[in-house]
């Protein structure tokens, strides 16, 4: 066992994949924390060879590559795949492997044509095997895995963690409670399973703490006042700790400036600008746009109707102001159903900033007036407004007349599925299933209707890391003719300078189709996520007729997806994107 991953970093692409598919710490911690609280003992425990149980979690690269072993090796060594079923982290379904994945169902009606397909695919993956061979045999390496054994250990761990979160430490050097190191675990034979599990928990906790400290280090740069945004994006792609999420999201979306010295004054100004905007739009001078107002009004009670937070009148009024102001300031698009959904992850996340650590997870239940002053609520509202505005800048084409952005994405999804899962594509064609019939909503609501809010928020850690800083100029054009002009003082801020630079660069690249290394685009990445999502159910869908397919995809079995499932989906999307980069370069 255990060829060390010395060769795994040989190519940059692979390294990138490793980095992106590292889904270890934060999410595991999230799951761990949930598992600590719930007494759900039905989860499978992980019984892998523990001999390699790690000493601390401080070698990041090591950790990173280890956590991706199952993912990568799963795609290359099919025989072992079944071992991992039942474990979210390693539960991968890449469609070219349909033949091998979990399926009695899939192979019953194998035709010769199908066999040919698989042969081709096998060959394709064999090629990849050579590149990835270094990791194949490391299959039994311990993976940080969710486990809820070791209940005796829970209380202290829990308390320690909470206290840590509660501190919201301002000093990055404060350090974290040094947890017991695990390097004594070599004599694993003598250990009980209980000990293994508690070690595993500590290991996860350690890596979580390590991760938290990395965020702290980035957010409070010791030398200089500039936050390294690309580093932040890289780190955030794999999930942001709840504690840091509000701050990180504001940075990722390009609302808060990377220069921390300017942060508070700029936020203050933007929050004031929002207040002024609201005051103006609801003043007597402004003639109410009745159809828009009416549409928003009827949609507000229908927004997240099952989450208590969105039933409080206070919150509903908040959302109504945000949406109406945005609609008035963006007449080319106006309010379109689905945008109401897009505000809520921001709103909910920014509310958590005002909650004690122990209360943060209750944000969806508490009425904000219990813990917020009116002014604070307006700040949350303002931040949500500016952030959703930034997000919508990236996907403006989705909501203007005719919704060309969505139509384009749906088309790309079809093209992509044709390439990565030709059988499914063919099957859909035979059954007259059209992509627009199920994927329109996926694009219009960024898959928000498909997942629970917590999962959406985790997904957005990655999505916001994928947002580009390129489209801000178009929004200026969009809003310039409207009641409120954008803050002129902002034009001189470092943010806008940076953005002007980057936007002119990308405008150039748009016209000349310059291939840049991994130019991020939320719309493009989202199509890959949708493709990964669809082919995940490929086995089932192959046996469904039109009605069953549409019904299934309207209501996919994702209600109880955990973070590990989301992270796997995102990793798969990333891998597809890496593999098909050339094929899709013309999309831009």
């Amino acid at each position: 066992m255990g060829v060390r991953p010395t060769t795994t970093t040989s190519s940059p692409t692979q390294r990138e994949i490793y980095q992106k598919s590292n889904n270890s710490s934060p999410s595991l911690m999230g799951s761990l924390m949930k598992s600590l609280k719930s007494s759900n003992s039905t989860r499978h425990h992980h019984h892998h060879n523990q001999s390699g149980a790690e000493a601390g979690g401080d070698n990041d690269a090591d950790q990173r590559s280890r956590s991706t072993y199952p993912l990568l090796s799963r795609s290359s060594s099919q025989n072992n795949a079944s071992q991992y079923h039942g474990h979210g982290v390693s539960h991968i379904h890449m469609s070219p492997l349909r033949k091998s994945s979990s399926g009695s169902s899939s192979t019953t009606n194998v035709s010769t044509q199908k066999d040919r397909h698989h042969l081709k695919k096998d060959k394709y993956f064999r090629d990849l095997d050579e590149d990835w061979s270094a990791v194949i045999e490391d299959y039994n390496m311990p993976i940080p895995m969710i486990s809820n054994g070791g209940s005796e250990l829970k209380p202290p761990v829990n308390v320690g963690l909470r206290r840590k979160e509660g501190v919201e430490s301002r000093s990055p050097s404060a350090g974290y409670p040094s947890l017991p190191h695990l390097n004594k675990s070599q004599s694993s034979d003598l250990k009980t399973q209980y000990e293994h599990e508690s070690e595993r928990e500590l290991q996860e906790l350690n890596s979580f703490m390590h991760r938290v400290s990395k965020f702290e280090a980035i957010l409070q740069p010791s030398n200089g006042s500039q936050i390294n945004l690309s580093e932040l994006r890289r780190l955030s792609w794999n999930g942001v700790p709840m504690l840091h999420r509000p701050q990180v999201w504001r940075l990722l979306i390009g609302y808060a400036p990377a220069n921390i010295k300017r942060q508070s004054s700029l936020l203050q100004r933007k929050r004031q600008e929002y207040r002024d905007g609201v005051a103006l739009v609801f003043s007597k001078e402004h003639t109410r746009d009745i159809p828009t107002w009416h549409q928003i009004e009827i949609d507000i009670p229908r927004t997240n109707p099952l989450i208590p937070l969105y039933q409080f009148p206070l919150v509903q009024q908040s959302l109504q102001r945000i949406l109406y102001l945005w609609a008035i300031r963006h007449p080319a698009s106006g309010y379109v159903q689905g945008i109401n959904d897009l505000v809520t992850p921001f709103y909910q996340t920014f509310l958590t900033e005002y909650l004690q650590a122990a209360q943060k997870e209750n944000v969806s239940k508490l009425s904000p007036d219990v813990y917020l002053t009116h002014e604070q609520l307006l700040d949350v509202e303002a931040d949500s407004f500016w952030c959703v505005a930034k997000l919508l800048e990236q996907i403006t084409d989705n909501y203007i007349h005719g919704q060309p952005g969505i139509l384009k994405q749906v088309k790309h999804l079809g093209q992509l599925v044709k390439r990565i899962d030709a059988d499914l594509y063919e099957h859909f064609a035979q059954e007259n299933v059209e992509f627009i019939q199920f994927a329109f909503r996926w694009m219009n609501c960024l898959l928000m209707r498909e997942f629970s809010m917590d999962m959406v928020i985790r997904m957005w850690d990655t999505y916001l890391s994928e947002t580009s800083l390129e489209s801000s100029s178009s929004s200026v054009a969009d809003s310039s003719g409207v009641t409120l002009s954008s803050d002129p003082s902002l034009q001189n801020s470092p943010v806008s300078t940076y953005r002007e630079k980057s936007s002119s660069k990308t405008m150039q690249s748009k016209h000349s189709a310059v291939a840049t290394p991994r130019q991020t685009s939320l719309s493009e990445f989202h199509v890959f996520v949708c493709a990964a999502f669809l082919v995940k159910f490929s086995d089932k869908l192959m046996n469904m007729d039109f009605q069953e397919t549409i019904t299934f995809l309207q209501n996919p079995p994702t209600k109880c997806w955990a973070e590990s499932d989301i992270e796997l989906l995102l990793s798969e999307a990333y891998i597809w994107q890496s593999l098909y980069k050339d094929a899709t370069s013309h999309w831009r």
Partner: protein
């Protein structure tokens, strides 16, 4: 009983929040929820109804109401044999929109399409809200345009099944079958129900989420 099954492809059109999805939910699951998330794109549901010795299977496309999504509607009504044009009896604006849909259907949809004009939210009037669309006005429109006409409450279930039964009676079964076979492979992708295929699904199944196997 192995009765012949006829499929009727039906589309719902109407302004946002008049209760299109609620009418379908009532018909398909005999259920109601006060605040349903707005439909995005369109939702597909089915329900079977026995009429005499015949079974009619309704294949329903429930479209999104907001104007911005209207460009998708032709895809769904193009091969439909029946349409419900829904308005809210307390919202005059929604009746104006209903007129537009009727006009568009007559111009763009299949010539034989059976259209039912449906005034929903009757319960709100019973609960004291002011009626804003007179019954006579709607009846006149129905007569002029040769529409079926119903006033319903998806909330109480009042008259909802009658809409679908009325449509079932109006469509000659053979015609429905022929149309289904001719038009089903069209670009809309609305699928033909193949009689030779054993359909294991009941109508109610089509709405339920199903358990999550994790």
């Amino acid at each position: 009983m192995n009765s012949p099954v006829t499929s009727i492809k039906l589309v719902l059109l109407g302004e946002a929040a008049v209760g299109k999805s609620s009418i379908v939910l009532r018909f398909v699951s005999n259920d109601f929820s006060e605040n349903k998330e707005p439909t995005i794109g369109a939702a597909f549901l089915t329900q079977r109804v026995n009429m005499g010795d015949h079974t009619i299977k309704f294949e329903i496309w429930d479209t999104a109401g907001q104007e911005r999504f209207a460009s998708l509607a032709p895809m769904y009504y193009r091969n439909a044999q029946a349409a419900l044009v829904v308005y809210d009896v307390t919202k005059p604006q929604s009746f104006i929109k209903a007129r537009h849909w009727v006009k568009e259907l007559h111009e763009q949809a299949s010539k034989d399409i059976v259209i039912a004009l449906v005034g929903n939210k009757l319960d709100m009037i019973e609960a004291g809200a002011e009626r804003k669309v007179a019954r006579e006005e709607a009846e006149n429109l129905a007569q002029e345009e040769n529409l079926l006409f119903f006033e319903t409450s998806a909330k109480t279930g009042d008259n909802v099944n009658e809409v679908f039964l009325g449509i079932g009676q109006k469509i000659p079964l053979k015609t429905a079958q022929n149309q289904a076979q001719n038009g089903g492979r069209g670009s809309s992708g609305l699928r033909v129900n193949d009689d030779s295929r054993v359909d294991l699904r009941s109508g109610n199944q089509s709405t339920s989420a199903g358990g999550c196997n994790c």
